[in-house]
Structures are given as C-alpha cells and as structure tokens.
C-alpha cells in the first residue's frame, strides 16, 4: 500500500464526512495578519521584561514585602462563589489541599551568553518542539478571556558545534490581549499583563523562584501523584500618586513548579484567581480538562 492507495481509499469515506466539511467547515475566513519571527521574538522579550521588572520593582515599593503576614490574609479574602462542582468531573481537587508558599520573588535564570562562534542558534517550529519534547506543548485548558500568544509554537534553542542541545527552554503565553507587536496588553487597573505563561525545559533551564521560607520548609501539593510547589505573592499595581493604597491596589501572582514526564514546568499567572490557576496546572498534569476544583 502506498500514499496513492490512501488517496484512492479516501474516495470511499462516508459521505456525511464530506457533507459536514462542505457545509460546516467550508466557510472562508479572513486570514490572520502574519507576524514575522523578529516581531515574535521582540514580543517574547518584552513580555519577559515586563514580568521581571514588575517583580523587581515590587520588592522596593510593596509594603507587603515588609509584612508577609498580609499575603496570607489577602489570599483568605478570595472567594470562589462563581464556581460550581461538576459531578461528572474525573478529578476533584479541593482548594483546602493546595498549599501556596509565600513567594519572595521570582528570578530569571542567570542569562548565559552563548558565543556564536561556539554555538548555533536555531528557531524551532511546532513540529521540532513536539519531536523534542515528545508531546504537543500547548494548554488544553485556557481560562476564559485569555488568548494564545503569537509567540507560541516557536522557540529559540541553542546547540553546540557538535550538535548537542545546550538550551531548550520553550515559552508559552496566554494573555488577555496583545498589541500589534504581539506584546501582552496591560490592564487599566494594574498596568500589568493579565494571563498565564508556561516555561518548559528538559534541561531544567527555568526561572528560579525564591520563597520566603527556607527550602526544607517549602510545602508541596500532590496533584495526580505529581509534587507541585505552588507559590503566591500579592503585587502592588501601578497607582497614581494621589490614590490611597488599599487591598484593591494589589493583584496576585501565582507560580507552580513541577517535573512531569522528564520535563520541568514553571507556570506563572498574573491577575488570575487561585482556583483558575490550580485548574490550569491540574489539567496540564492530568491531561484531562474534566477537572473540578472545589472550594
């Protein structure tokens, strides 16, 4: 049998499949504007800078930094009344069983300069990424209102001259919206992007998260048998000088770190609810969207 046989075999597929494709899948749409790889790279860099700058600045400006107890009280104020239990969910997770470690700050891994005389930089597309990681790197569950970044589906990886990979980190972003360059739009409330980003690396080249507690006291949450370190921090949004600082001036940053199928994950969410974040993480781990996160 050859490809030609399959081509002829397709003559005999059920007619309702053709009819469905013709009637439902046959409407032409306007093509999306194509975004060049350069713009995509710039967008990725900008997203990274915005997140990092935010995290650095709050260390100086955030009064909560001096009083970490408030972080816990801020979290306890959250309510999840809009969520209902789904009886047919395969996995139920209770928020009571999820432990959020107080996050001091998240740092990028120290940037390494790869001498182009010794290393080759290659841009991977979705196929190469999937071949390397052995699975499709995408979020099966994306919280409502978030859209995939135009950067998704490509990654800049680095090989040494002998063909060994030395940098394999892949970034995925899902944000509320994007500007013309593909950068996430900033929210009016906090002048900060709202959404979720995920870093993947088989080599463990991810951001380092610093927690307030020492390493041996960091608590882990088990989701489907995978140990996850959840972190949280309240961030003071960008406010004008004459505004009073209140609890509403803060938004939440959540992180989750875990190792799954030999791949290190680092997930960061900004201005999302804890429950949505936990569900996003749980779907990545279980591979099933049918998950219910209870209060």
């Amino acid at each position: 049998m050859t490809g030609k046989d399959i081509l002829y075999g397709l003559n005999n597929i059920d007619q309702d499949l053709i009819n469905e494709c013709e009637e439902q899948g046959g409407q032409k749409q306007k093509s999306k504007p194509q975004i060049s790889l350069l713009k995509v790279s710039i967008a990725a860099a900008c997203i990274f800078m915005v997140v990092m700058c935010t995290l650095d600045l709050i260390k100086v400006n955030d009064p909560l930094y001096a009083n970490p107890d408030k972080i816990q009280s801020n979290m306890q104020e959250q309510t999840f009344s809009t969520y209902s239990t789904e009886n047919d969910a395969l996995v139920h997770i209770s928020m009571n069983t999820v432990h959020f470690n107080d996050l001091d700050q998240e740092l990028a891994s120290a940037p390494i300069w790869y001498n182009p005389e010794m290393y080759n930089t290659i841009v991977w597309g979705e196929i190469e990424i999937e071949d390397y990681y052995g699975k499709e790197l995408t979020l099966q569950y994306v919280p409502e209102g978030l859209k995939a970044s135009p950067v998704n589906g490509s990654a800049t990886v680095i090989f040494d001259k002998e063909g060994n990979i030395v940098y394999d980190t892949v970034w995925l972003g899902y944000y509320q919206g994007y500007d013309e360059l593909g950068n996430p739009q900033l929210t009016d409330d906090y002048i900060s992007p709202k959404g979720i980003s995920v870093l993947f690396s088989k080599m463990g080249l991810l951001n380092d998260c610093l927690y307030i507690l020492p390493d041996n006291e960091i608590k882990r949450t088990s989701i489907e048998g995978i140990d996850v370190i959840f972190g949280h921090r309240s961030i003071l949004g960008c406010i004008s000088g004459d505004e009073n600082i209140s609890s509403e001036s803060y938004y939440d940053i959540y992180v989750a770190e875990f190792l799954l199928d030999g791949i290190d994950y680092n997930i960061t969410a900004s201005q999302m609810s804890a429950k949505e974040f936990v569900k996003t993480v749980a779907v990545i781990i279980s591979g099933d969207v049918n998950i219910c996160v209870d209060d």
């Binding site: 030609k4 075999g9 059920d14 499949l17 899948g25 409407q27 749409q29």
Partner: protein, 185 residues
C-alpha cells in the same frame, strides 16, 4: 433549487436535472477536478463525465448528501484521468499530496497488494470520526479536495505553519491507527 428537488428531477429523468445540478454545484465540481488535473480541457471533460455518471447512477441511487455524492464521482473521474506517469512533470501539488500520505504507510505494508477500496474507506472514516472537527476538516480539505496549504490557511483563518503542523500530526496519528487496526491488505 434544493437538493431533494434536484434528486427528484434525476429520478423523473427530467433533462433539467443536469442543468440545475450544474447551476448549483458546477463551479465546485470544476474547482475540485481542476485541483487534481490542473488542465482546463481535462477538467471540463471530467465534470461533464461526472454529470453523465450521476445521470446513470440516479436512480437507483437516492443520495442523502447530494454534493458529497457527486463530488465523490467527480473526484474518482478526475483521478482516473490523471496521468500518474507524468505527474511530477505536470503538476507538483498532487505529487506532494501523495508523498505526504506515503509517510502514513507502515513500512511492511508497502510491498503488499492494495487493500480493497471500501475496506480502507471504512477504516479512514472511522479514523476521521475520532478527530476533532477542525483537524478532520483540514485533513479532508488537503487530501480529499486537494486544497493547497495556503488555501486551507485562508479558509480557516489560521497560519500556514499551523496547517502544516496539524497535517503532520494527523498523518502520524493515521499511521498509528493503520498499525493498530492491523488492516488486512
């Protein structure tokens, strides 16, 4: 005129049947055949042959999905006219499509006799039904209608790279499916 009425005209052996069929679906049939033959004269001939075959087929057939029924006849007719010996010289696209599908074939299947068309058609139908709708449509657009990657990208408003990736994954799934089904060829 709706499909039921057109089918009825064929059943009544009314000469207007072909005229109405051509009026409603002529362009689509032409486009389908041209996607295979890339030659206006051959395409014209294939479409006219299709009308004749439909005339002979209805009755006894009473198709539920008229377009799918006539498009299948048109596709078969055009493929029969296609000169595979000169495929590479005349038209790259169909050769590309075949090359893409060659990757779906399990190595030890290649030297065996062809599976019967209907058996393979049933298996392919089962496979396609398992796919999410958009994946299924993209696959059918590419390998049934022979649409180009650019056309599919435009049709669904997704990037060409997304179309290629989707097709790549679907072909890989198809290969696994054919292996797992152990189709007797």
């Amino acid at each position: 005129m709706d499909d039921l009425n057109i089918v009825q005209l064929f059943w009544d052996k009314d000469q207007d049947a072909i005229m109405n069929l051509a009026e409603k679906y002529g362009e689509k049939l032409y486009s389908l055949a041209y996607g295979i033959l890339h030659n206006h004269e051959d395409t014209e001939e294939a479409v006219n042959d299709t009308y004749l075959k439909v005339w002979n087929a209805i009755p006894p057939e009473k198709p539920i999905y008229l377009f799918a029924f006539i498009a299948k006849i048109c596709r078969c007719t055009a493929l029969d006219k296609y000169d595979w010996n000169h495929a590479k010289k005349r038209h790259i696209q169909l050769g590309d499509v075949v090359n893409e599908l060659d990757n779906c074939v399990v190595a030890d299947m290649q030297n065996r006799d062809s599976i019967k068309g209907y058996e393979l058609g049933d298996a392919l139908s089962s496979f396609l039904r398992q796919l999410p709708k958009q994946k299924r449509w993209i696959f059918i657009r590419r390998y049934w209608y022979f649409d180009s990657i650019a056309d599919i990208s435009f049709r669904y408003g997704i990037s060409q790279s997304k179309v290629k990736t989707t097709l790549h994954r679907t072909r890989r799934q198809l290969k696994c499916f054919l292996e797992s089904e152990g189709i007797n060829i």
